[in-house]
Amino acid sequence: MTYSYYPGCTLKTKAKELDRTARLCAEALGANLCELDNWQCCGGAYTASSDEIATKLSSVRALLEAESREEDIITLCSACHNVLKRVRNDLINDANFAFKVNNYVKPEKPFEGKTKVIHFLEFLRDEIGFDNLREKVVNPFTGKKIAAYYGCLLLRPSGVMDMDDPENPKILEDFIRAIGGEPVMYPYRNECCGGYVALEDKSATVKKSEKIVASADGFGADIIITACPLCLYNLESAKGNGEVKYFTELLATALGIKEA
């Protein structure tokens, strides 16, 4: 299985651990993550306005390159995933947007929608299967209480993201069970951590993140896992009892990858 891999800006800098462990895990699971040659930063946020074209072009180029390779795109960062998946949706369902984009980019072949945008978690669930994953685990997190933190971007808007139930998701919990841990259910797992406001007003994001971490702690979580570098940053700055980790870090450990 070969996938076009879209790392995004943060995985090349502050979130190298997410990038590195994900690549190792993919390799261990027999998938080939082939980085897109000419990926550009997605911009971090999808701008929901009918007249916004330029801010979405970097995603369009990534989609076009992957489609020319006849591969699906795998993402890790929640923000990249959200932007790419929503731009893909626009290209398919918004004829006006597709028309303008094609006029500007002048692709050899317009985007047809064969290439899908798959989050690494969806790859684990739908391609590998959590039951198969469980069999590959050599260092299970037995007895560890792990809290899944989804945040907002992976789940919403649910109509487009279509990953899981937006109010009662279970993909990360199933993942935790597959690596032998015990998922902690807490109500803040799909509440926003405050996101990019961290730049301008850190006190606001800390306040929001503190509630999230306190809730997870209250339900006895040893570790909080997430897919998003910004969520990780915000939750860490809330200074809870347990660690905050990328889900791929736990996966690498569970799979017994030495370099991890």
Partner: protein, 663 residues
């Protein structure tokens, strides 16, 4: 040549505002055969009808065209009018210039032109009309009520009271429906069981009423006055004639872990069970999904303890055929599933419950014996939040677009009862609007606020957060104070939207009764015929037609019974004269028509004909007019043109086509 009168109705300004009615009457005056053409403000009024009658007499009219509202509205009215003037009622045609012209077009010129064309088409058709006489068919003096809730019970009792036989088919082991699960009822706060169970007993004791419990309708044939219904009696593995309802088996059954649907899964029952103490009929039923004996052949405890030998593990589903003159649908409602509204954490916390679950928690016969305790830890809740409109008034693809109507009142009732019984409990109600139209309803709601100190907060809840300490944080906007509340509660009660029972859709197909997009049965007219289905002989009782509270359900149930009694009181029914008939001289005996007839109304016989002076025996079709429903399928299947439909004949429809396409 017919002598035709044309009558154009203004319908006040409904038609006259967009159609130049004078121009229509004037234009149609010169159509062939038209001898009089007039317009009038309200043709359906007494004066309007007199005008038609007089015109018929004065001008010796043989055909009448009324340009007015839809024939579905007033065709019957005007047929009576022309009949009163001595014409055959089927010599009337209606041109629909209201619903299909004035109400949908804005341009007066266009609308007037279309009205004239529709008038011409009706005139063209009336030229080819022939007097028709309806056949008569006998009425079976027995009614079927499908659904044994309060709606079905009331309808059945009223029909029986008038002296007619009536059968109730109930899919559950007992009649009583949703009302048996309720604790108290608004706005009088009398106990539901106290007013319902006597009615259930009346049903059981009335010799005109027969109850088919644990049964379903599996097939419906026939038509008004003559329905032929097959009822499936599901195997309950207990002989109804032997079981005394002593309940010994339900105490001894070793399978104790069956979710008790009567208490909405809040506690368990046995595999053999009687739903509740006042069940009618009071007969045990074995739940085949859980019975060890039926699943593995090992057990047999109930059979051993039964003193009358009523247990029969070999019982099979049986089918009963019965004839009815009228069918009443009373299939009721259910709360919707809340899995798409998990921001309220219904599936994530045991202490988030629905209002119907609260009814059981507060009921003396419920899982806690009537003491209100939280499901999670059986502790007394000190602060309770009610959330209104969960899944109602939604246009988000997840819920129902309509208002469920009953929630505002039952929530006020719950809030009041809780405040009365547990004065130390604070009650909050989060609402969008409080809707309390009904006798003594708003006063009831105001009492909850003013006398009982229930806190009503205008603003919807955005999320319910179960906290580590077992409380529930209710996050909501308080729109009047302009704040966001984070209220710590012990119990959250959701007013789930209600929807028609799932059995309604397949039933509607069997009955060929129409439904709206929400699967509520459609009434024949939203204002004037609210308890009848457009399909003759099918009547609607209770919430299967739309959300209703108990007082309204009972009124509709009695209204429905009155309509059924009206039908059953007749010895014969005038049939539909617009039926198929075969021209035996043209018929070639091919059987094409017989094969497509859904009613088996066509038969073949050998007849002798004199052709060119010789007697020839030929096989020809004939239609039984009492059985034919007039769909016309056979007329199209017929290759020789022998088969035609009265009232909608080939030549009549062709004439309409010609008139419409003329220029």
């Amino acid at each position: 040549m017919q002598r035709i009168g044309v009558f154009v109705c203004h319908c006040g300004t409904n038609i006259a505002a967009t159609v130049d009615v004078k121009a229509v009457a004037e234009a149609l005056k010169y159509e062939p055969g038209v001898v009089v053409s007039e317009e009038y403000q309200y043709m359906c009024s007494e004066a309007g009808q007199e005008l038609i009658k007089n015109a018929i007499k004065e001008n010796a009219l043989t055909g009448v065209v009324v340009c007015s509202c839809s024939p579905r509205m007033h065709e019957a009215t005007f047929r009576k009018t022309v009949a009163a003037a001595g014409l055959n009622p089927y010599m009337l045609e209606i041109a629909n210039i209201r619903e299909q012209v004035s109400w949908i077009h804005k341009n007066i010129e266009e609308a007037t032109e279309k009205a004239i064309i529709l008038g011409r088409a009706a005139i063209a058709k009336v030229h080819l009309n022939a007097p028709l006489t309806a056949g008569e068919s006998p009425v079976v003096k027995r009614a079927l009520v499908i659904g044994g809730g309060i709606a079905g019970i009331q309808t059945a009792l009223d029909i029986a009271e008038a002296g007619f036989e009536v059968d109730i088919v109930e899919k559950n082991p007992t009649i009583g429906g949703k009302m048996t699960q309720l604790d108290k009822t608004f706005p009088t706060l009398d106990c539901a069981a106290c007013i319902l169970t006597p009615k259930m007993v009346d049903c059981a004791q009335n010799d005109k009423i027969k109850i088919y419990s644990y049964s379903e309708v599996s097939e419906v044939k026939g038509f008004v006055g003559n329905f032929d219904v097959t009822i499936k009696r599901k195997a309950r593995y207990v002989d109804e004639n032997k079981c005394t309802g002593c309940g010994l088996c339900t105490e001894k059954c070793p399978q104790k872990k069956v979710p008790n649907e009567f208490n909405l899964g809040l506690d368990n029952r046995r595999a053999i069970y009687i739903p509740f103490a006042q069940a009618v009929p009071k007969i045990a039923t074995i739940d085949a999904d859980y019975c060890t004996m039926l699943k593995s052949g090992k057990c047999g405890v109930c059979s051993k303890v039964c003193t009358v030998g009523a247990i029969d593990y070999k019982q099979q589903d049986t089918y009963v055929n019965e004839k009815y003159g009228a069918i009443v649908v009373a299939t009721g409602f259910n709360p919707i599933k809340l899995d798409k509204y998990d921001e309220f954490a219904y599936s994530q916390s045991a202490d988030v419950i629905t209002s119907l679950e609260l009814e059981r928690l507060m009921n003396a016969a419920g899982p806690n014996g009537g003491t209100l305790l939280r499901p999670s830890d059986k502790k007394h809740p000190h602060r309770i939040a009610f959330i209104q409109c969960v899944g109602s008034r939604c246009d988000d693809g997840k819920g129902k677009s309509y208002c469920s109507k009953i929630c505002c009142m039952y929530t006020a009732k719950h809030a009041m009862l809780i405040r009365e019984k547990y004065p130390d409990t604070e009650v909050y109600v989060f609402y969008i609007d409080v809707r309390t139209p009904g006798k003594n309803f708003d006063e009831f709601y105001r009492r909850a606020v003013e006398e009982y100190g229930v806190n009503y907060i205008k603003g919807m809840v955005g999320k319910v957060l179960p906290e580590p300490d077992g409380t529930l944080t209710v996050r909501a906007s308080d729109l009047l104070n302009g704040t966001q509340l984070n209220l710590s509660c012990d119990l959250v009660v959701l007013a789930a939207a209600i929807e028609p029972d799932k059995s309604a859709r397949p039933l509607a197909t069997m009955l060929t009764a129409s439904m709206d997009t929400n699967d509520f049965f459609t009434e024949a007219h939203p204002k004037l015929r609210p308890v009848e289905s457009p399909t003759a002989g099918i009547f609607l009782s209770g919430a299967c037609q739309g959300p209703k509270d108990i007082p309204e359900t009972v009124s509709q149930a009695s209204a429905c019974a009155a309509k059924v009694i009206g039908l059953l009181a007749k010895n014969t029914l005038k049939g539909n004269p617009c039926v198929a008939h075969s021209d035996e001289l043209l018929c070639n005996g091919c059987s094409s028509c017989e094969k497509v007839c859904p009613y088996g109304a066509i038969s073949y016989s050998d007849k002798e004909f004199r052709i060119n002076g010789k007697m020839v025996t030929r096989r020809v079709a004939s239609v039984n007019p009492a059985v034919c429903q007039g769909c016309g399928a056979c007329t199209v299947a017929c290759p020789s043109g022998a088969m035609d439909l009265r009232g909608f004949s080939n030549s009549q429809i062709m004439a309409e086509v010609d008139a419409i396409c003329k220029w």
